[in-house]
């Protein structure tokens, strides 16, 4: 379902944008305004991260946002309520993103049920490999949610097949080694990696880690289906305030009418 939604949008735009926020950073009010600005700027899909105290796969910028959000008192329940609010208010699909312990402590099935009720469409759990995901897959399936798994350049073809078999909605392809928020060199290596991903699945491919400006997005056109803007929007908010978000996002692609 999510996959179809995205494919439909791709009829208008060759490359889609998926953006990311850490809920409650710097505040839930700001988070809401950021989502609003992103939707207005034409973002096709968003990841909403529930902060976790041990975000091992995130780089310093998102890590910091996780910590501040928690310090400001954000709870899992508050984040889910926020997800529900934006899902009702804005007409794009929203994915939850968090570490597995958040789901596990909540109860994986209860968590999925709550997500579905909230109108969220799926989840990305970066520390949950398919091998450990039986319970999660069952819960996501039971509630018609898309479990989005991750591929990396070091993932073998065999393993890509295995991972994409259980993935729904889209496949998240990390561009390189490392954590979120570092520069990625968009090069031939990336090309052949994305070709391998493409061969493994018919699902839309979202490329993440290090996409930060129009040049990067241009490069991805024709190679990936979605460009994921994570760390860079947090930086924009930190440097220019919420006002900076819309122009930044709009600047990533040529205007629709063009």
């Amino acid at each position: 379902m999510l996959a179809e939604t995205l494919r439909a949008k791709q009829r208008e735009r060759e490359i889609l944008l998926m953006t990311h926020i850490v809920m409650g950073y710097p505040s839930f009010d700001d988070s809401l305004r950021v989502v609003e600005a992103m939707v207005e700027a034409g973002v096709e899909i968003m990841e909403l991260q529930i902060p976790f105290s041990e975000p091992i796969a995130d780089g310093p910028v998102i890590l910091h946002a996780n910590q501040r959000s928690l310090q400001a008192g954000s709870s899992v329940e508050r984040c889910l309520a926020f997800g529900e609010e934006v899902a009702k208010r804005f007409d794009i699909p929203f994915l939850l993103m968090s570490y597995y312990n958040i789901l596990f402590k909540y109860g994986v099935d209860a968590f999925a049920k709550r997500m579905a009720e909230a109108g969220l469409v799926g989840a990305i759990v970066p520390d949950l490999p398919p091998e450990e995901a039986d319970e999660y897959l069952a819960a996501m399936a039971a509630h018609d949610l898309a479990p989005v798994f991750i591929l990396s350049p070091s993932t073998t073809d065999e393993r890509m097949a295995r991972i994409t078999r259980v993935t729904k909605g889209l496949v998240y392809c990390v561009a390189r080694k490392g954590v979120t928020g570092q520069d990625t060199s968009f090069s031939d290596d990336l090309d052949s990696y994305l070709a391998r991903c493409r061969a493994a699945t018919d699902l839309p491919l979202a490329l993440g880690f290090g996409v930060k400006d129009r040049a990067d997005v241009d490069f991805l056109r024709g190679r990936a289906d979605l460009a994921v803007i994570g760390t860079q929007t947090i930086r924009v908010v930190e440097e220019q305030g919420v006002e900076g978000v819309k122009p930044f996002i709009e600047g990533l692609r040529p205007p629709l009418s063009a």
Binding site: F52, S53, E54, P55, I56, A57, D58, G59, P60, L63, H64, Q67, L70, S75, V76, E77, Y99, Y100, N101, I102, F104, K105, Y106, P126, D127, L128, P129, E131, E132, F149, I150, L151, S152, P153, S154, T155, T156, R159, I163, V174, K177, G178, V179, Q182
Partner: protein, 409 residues
């Protein structure tokens, strides 16, 4: 048939996809090393010629007399090179790194003990070395930072989170996902994703193998009980390993901090404050809140001040094979004090936790019984903490004078 890396419901490997290939390589290297008797021989030889293995099993005659019960023996991991059992693990992993052909190691450290051990191993093997250490620990444990730097390691203070051990672990993982081709992450205890719990336990099992042989040689009998402190669980698993199949009671002692009732402790298995969770790559009991966020822990012993615990120990608790208790900061300082005075031994604050429980139980046993305490490390590395715990005025004056001397220059 449990999956590899699982101990009952505990363990596993919850890692970002980018690390999967690295872990596969590591598991393979480890399996090959285990299957190759030459590897273990090389390891024994290294530990015998570079560290001081076998470490002695010392009869604590005065403590035995003092408590008037079981005969107390002490396994002397404090006599290892760099002063703790941590040496066993790092040297073992060092050999594995050589086997894998990598040239750089990274590690987390809390007390600094594992950082110094890793930096030492890196110097010996000629590896580049980066150590992640919470900013608060960098401040508290400056002597160890000093030695790590002298050993050629880069020490990176971690400024996020609680700025202690668990955050250093996260940071080490972040480094690793960026640099795994040439880098090995030398995890310091029997925690983390598979194969670390099993691998660290394997290297540390040298303690238990020696201790079993030694206690039989020395006393002709198996011990009634064995006591070991539990931070991540590596020294405990190390000595327990030698006796799992024997009729020997195994006792793990966690950090009771200011008392279990205060919440300021690090007792994951001896208190009911912890619950099952998944973090830092593995499933075990964590001290976490209802949302699954990790809590701050407390112990006078930096090396026990950690939110998680070895999944193998969680399993052994669940099966009832290992009994757990906790020792408070105050009890620890008292046991340390008594041990120093009676035996001339200076256990690390961490190790002293094991002594506390042994001292409580020794009088209830008979002189026919033997008990072993694992002295995982030496305490003279802890002088700043120990002097503070004893509120020593002469020490404080010394530090003040030294500061004045530095200001004057």
């Amino acid at each position: 048939m449990p999956e590899p890396g699982y101990y009952g419901q505990f363990g596993g490997s919850f890692i970002p996809e980018i690390l999967v290939a690295t872990f596969e390589e590591l598991v393979q290297a480890f399996e090959q090393a285990k299957a190759d008797p030459e590897f273990w021989n090389t390891y024994l030889k290294l530990m015998g010629s570079y560290s001081c293995r076998p470490t002695p099993l010392t009869y604590a005659e005065n403590l035995t007399r003092h408590f008037g019960g079981a005969r107390i023996y002490i396994k002397r991991e404090d006599l290892n090179h760099t002063g703790a059992h941590k040496a066993n693990n790092v040297m073992g992993q060092g050999l594995l790194v050589k086997r894998m052909g990598k040239g750089r190691v990274i590690a987390e450290t809390g007390a600094g003990q594992h950082g110094v051990a890793t930096a030492t191993m890196a110097a010996k093997f000629g590896f580049d070395c980066t150590i992640y250490m919470g900013e608060i620990d960098v401040q508290r444990q400056r002597p160890n930072v000093f030695w790590m730097e002298r050993l050629g390691a880069t020490v990176i203070p971690v400024t996020e989170g609680t700025r202690t051990l668990k955050d250093a672990i996260n940071e080490a993982f972040r480094d690793w996902v960026s640099a795994m081709d040439d880098t090995h992450y030398v995890l310091g205890t029997a925690c983390g994703p598979h194969p670390f719990p099993e691998m660290v336990t394997w290297f540390q099992s040298i303690i238990g193998l020696e201790a079993r042989r030694q206690v039989l040689e020395e006393t002709g009998q198996l011990p009634a009980r064995i006591y070991a402190c539990v931070g991540g669980g590596s020294n405990a698993m190390g000595i327990f390993s030698g006796f799992l199949d024997d009729d020997v009671e195994l006792v793990g002692v966690e950090a009771g901090g200011r008392g279990l009732e205060t919440g300021a402790h690090a007792a994951r298995l001896a208190s009911s404050d912890a619950s099952l969770g998944v973090a830092q790559g593995y499933k075990t009991f964590f001290l976490q809140d209802d949302d699954g966020q990790m809590k701050e822990t407390h112990s006078v012993a930096a090396g026990l001040d950690y939110v998680g615990v070895s999944p193998i120990l969680s399993h052994l608790k669940e099966t009832g094979r290992v009994r757990f208790s906790a020792a408070t900061d105050t009890e620890v300082v008292d046991a340390l004090s008594l041990t120093i005075r009676k035996e001339g031994l200076i256990p690390a604050l961490e190790s002293a936790h094991g002594f506390v429980q042994a001292f409580k139980e020794a009088p209830t046993l008979s002189h026919d019984d033997v008990i072993i305490i694992n002295q995982s490390g030496r305490g003279d590395k802890d002088i700043f903490t120990v002097a503070d715990a004893f509120e020593d005025p002469g020490w404080k004056q010394f530090i003040r004078d030294k500061a004045k001397e530095y200001d004057a220059r």
